[in-house]
C-alpha cells in the first residue's frame, strides 16, 4: 500500500516535470524526463557511459585506498606518540580547515589533468577522516590494558596486534564507512572542476554546452551509483559484524 503511494508520488512528479517543461519553465533549464532517459540510453548504447563510470570508480578506489592507508598509519603513530600529536595538532587542524578542493589546482599543476590529480585530492580528504578516527580510537584504549600486557612480558608488536589494533578497529570501520561518501563527492567535484573523463566531467561538459538533459542524466547516473555503493556497504557491514554482540 505504502509503495503504491510512493509510486504515485514519483509518477506525479515525473508527469508534472514533463508537462511543465517547455510550457511553464523553459526546457533549457529543467530538461524533461523523456529527454533525460533518451540521453542515458544513448550513452549506454555508444558505451561512453561505462568509460566515464570506470574512470570515476578507478579514481575513487585508488584515492580511497591510498588515503585510508596513510590516515590509518598516521593515526596509529600519533595516537601512540602523545607529545608529537599535541605538537602537530594545530598544524593538522589548520590543514583540516582548508577546503580540500582548493588544493586541486595545485595537484593539477604537479600531476596533470589525468586521474592522478583527482586521486591525490580524494586521498587527502580520506586520509584526514581516517587519521582523526584512528587516532581517537587508539587514544580511547584503556592504558591499564596495555600496562598489564607489558607486565606480562608482551613485546611492543604483540601489544599492537593484541590490544591496539582490535580496539581501534571499530573506530577505523566508522571512518572507512563515512569516508566512502566523501570520497565519491570529492571524485565528482574534482572531475567537474578539471578533467576530461568521468561522471563529473559529464556534468560539467553538458552544462558547458547548456545541454540540461545531459546534466540531469549525469546526475541520475551519479545518484544510482551512490545508492549502489551505499547499499553494498550496508550489506558488507551486516555480514562482517555478525560476530559482534
Amino acid at each position: 500500500m505504502i509503495w503504491l503511494g510512493r509510486a504515485a508520488i514519483l509518477l506525479a512528479f515525473l508527469v508534472a516535470w514533463q508537462l511543465a517543461s517547455g510550457t511553464l519553465i523553459p526546457k533549457m533549464f529543467v530538461s524533461d524526463p523523456i529527454s533525460i532517459g533518451t540521453t542515458i540510453a544513448q550513452w549506454v548504447a555508444d558505451g561512453s557511459l561505462w568509460n566515464h563510470l570506470a574512470t570515476s570508480l578507478v579514481t575513487l578506489l585508488i584515492g580511497y585506498l591510498l588515503g585510508a592507508a596513510i590516515g590509518i598509519v598516521a593515526g596509529f603513530l600519533l595516537g601512540l606518540m602523545r607529545f608529537a600529536d599535541r605538537t602537530l595538532a594545530p598544524f593538522i587542524a589548520a590543514f583540516y580547515g582548508l577546503p580540500k578542493v582548493a588544493l586541486l589546482p595545485l595537484f593539477v599543476i604537479f600531476l596533470g589533468i589525468g586521474i592522478e590529480s583527482k586521486v591525490a585530492l580524494v586521498a587527502v580528504v580520506v586520509a584526514f577522516l581516517l587519521f582523526y578516527n584512528t587516532r581517537d580510537g587508539v587514544r580511547d584504549i584503556d592504558p591499564d590494558l596495555i600496562d598489564s600486557l607489558r607486565l606480562l612480558g608482551a613485546t611492543q608488536l604483540e601489544i599492537l596486534r593484541k590490544v591496539l589494533f582490535p580496539a581501534a578497529l571499530p573506530w577505523i570501520y566508522t571512518g572507512l564507512r563515512v569516508a566512502v561518501g566523501y570520497a565519491l563527492t570529492t571524485t565528482v567535484v574534482g572531475e567537474v572542476l578539471s578533467s576530461n573523463r568521468g561522471i563529473g566531467y559529464l556534468i560539467e561538459s553538458s552544462a558547458g554546452r547548456f545541454n540540461s538533459a545531459g546534466v540531469f542524466a549525469a546526475v541520475v547516473v551519479l545518484v544510482v551509483l551512490s545508492l549502489i555503493i551505499t547499499a553494498t556497504l550496508s550489506r558488507m557491514e551486516l555480514s562482517s559484524s555478525r560476530w559482534r554482540m
Binding site: 533549464f29 580547515g97 582548508l98 577546503p99 582548493a102 589546482p105 595545485l106 599543476i109 553538458s206 551512490s226
Partner: protein, 254 residues
C-alpha cells in the same frame, strides 16, 4: 620547563624549521614550483593593501546569505517531517535518495540556472546547508523520547506546549551538530562555486592564479583560505559549546 611551555617551544620550532626549509629550498634549489614563504608573505601584504578584503567579503557574503536561507528551511522541514510519521514513512525512499546525492556536484547546474554572479554560490551554500540541517533535525525530531511527550500530554499539555517543552529542546543538540557541519561545508561550497566560474572571491583567486601558473599567488590564497577555514571551524566548535552549556557534562562530552 613546564609541559605547556615545552609544547609551545616544540610547535614554534617546528613552524620555524618548516618555513626556513621551504625558504631555503626556494632560494637555493628551485622556486619555480614551490615559491618561497617570503614571496608568499609579500604577495599577501600586496593583496591586503588592495582588494583581498573584498574577495574575502564576497566569499563570506555568499556563505552568510546561503546559510541564512538554508539553515532555517532545513530546520523547519526537518521538524515538520520528523513529527509527521505517516508522511515521513511515505517519503522515506525519496529522502534516502536525496541524502545520497553529492550536492556540490550540482554546481554546474546551478551556474546554468543562476548565471555567473554570486547567486549560484549562494544557492549552492543554501542547498548544502538546507540538506545538512534537514537530515539532522529530522533524525533528532524522530528520536525524541516518546514517554516524555506522552507524560506531557497526560499532564494536559497541548500540541504547542509539547513542542516547546519537549520536542524543540531535544532537537537542539541535533540541530547544533548539523550547524557545526554546515559552517565548514558552507565555505567548501562557496569555494567550489567560485572555482567554477566567478569574478570575485577566494575560489576565483585560486583559479586565476593557477591558470597563469602563478605559484606564489596560489600558495598565498591557500594560506588565507586555510586561516579562514580554521577560524570558521573554531567558531563552530566554540558556539556549539557555548549554546549547549546547559547540557549535563556527560552528554556534552560525547
Amino acid at each position: 620547563m613546564s609541559d605547556a611551555m615545552k609544547l609551545a617551544v616544540a610547535r614554534g620550532a617546528l613552524l620555524i624549521t618548516l618555513l626556513i626549509g621551504w625558504e631555503l629550498f626556494g632560494r637555493l634549489v628551485d622556486s619555480t614550483w614551490t615559491s618561497q614563504p617570503s614571496d608568499v608573505a609579500a604577495q599577501i601584504a600586496t593583496w591586503a593593501a588592495d582588494g583581498l578584503a573584498w574577495h574575502i567579503a564576497v566569499t563570506l557574503t555568499e556563505m552568510v546569505i546561503g546559510l541564512a536561507i538554508g539553515v532555517p528551511g532545513g530546520i523547519l522541514l526537518g521538524l515538520w517531517l520528523g513529527r509527521s510519521p505517516r508522511i515521513a514513512g511515505l517519503l522515506y525512499p525519496f529522502i534516502v535518495v536525496l541524502n545520497s546525492i553529492p550536492v556540490v556536484a550540482l554546481a554546474p547546474l546551478l551556474i546554468m540556472w543562476f548565471g555567473l554572479g554570486m547567486q549560484p554560490k549562494i544557492a549552492l551554500v543554501a542547498l548544502v546547508s538546507f540538506l545538512l540541517l534537514f537530515f539532522n533535525t529530522f533524525a533528532g525530531a524522530q528520536a525524541v523520547d516518546r514517554d516524555l511527550i506522552e507524560s506531557l500530554a497526560l499532564m494536559g499539555a497541548n500540541r504547542r506546549e509539547r513542542f516547546r517543552m519537549a520536542i524543540a529542546p531535544a532537537c537542539v543538540t541535533w540541530i547544533f551538530a548539523g550547524l557545526k557541519n554546515a559552517l565548514p561545508y558552507a565555505l567548501i561550497a562557496a569555494t567550489i562555486g567560485e572555482m567554477m566560474v566567478a569574478r570575485a572571491g577566494l575560489g576565483f583567486l585560486i583559479t586565476s592564479a593557477s591558470a597563469i601558473f602563478d605559484m606564489t599567488a596560489l600558495y598565498a590564497v591557500l594560506v588565507v583560505l586555510m586561516l579562514l577555514g580554521a577560524g570558521i571551524n573554531m567558531l563552530a566548535e566554540r558556539s556549539e559549546a557555548w549554546f549547549l552549556r546547559w547540557r549535563p557534562i556527560a552528554e556534552a562530552q560525547r
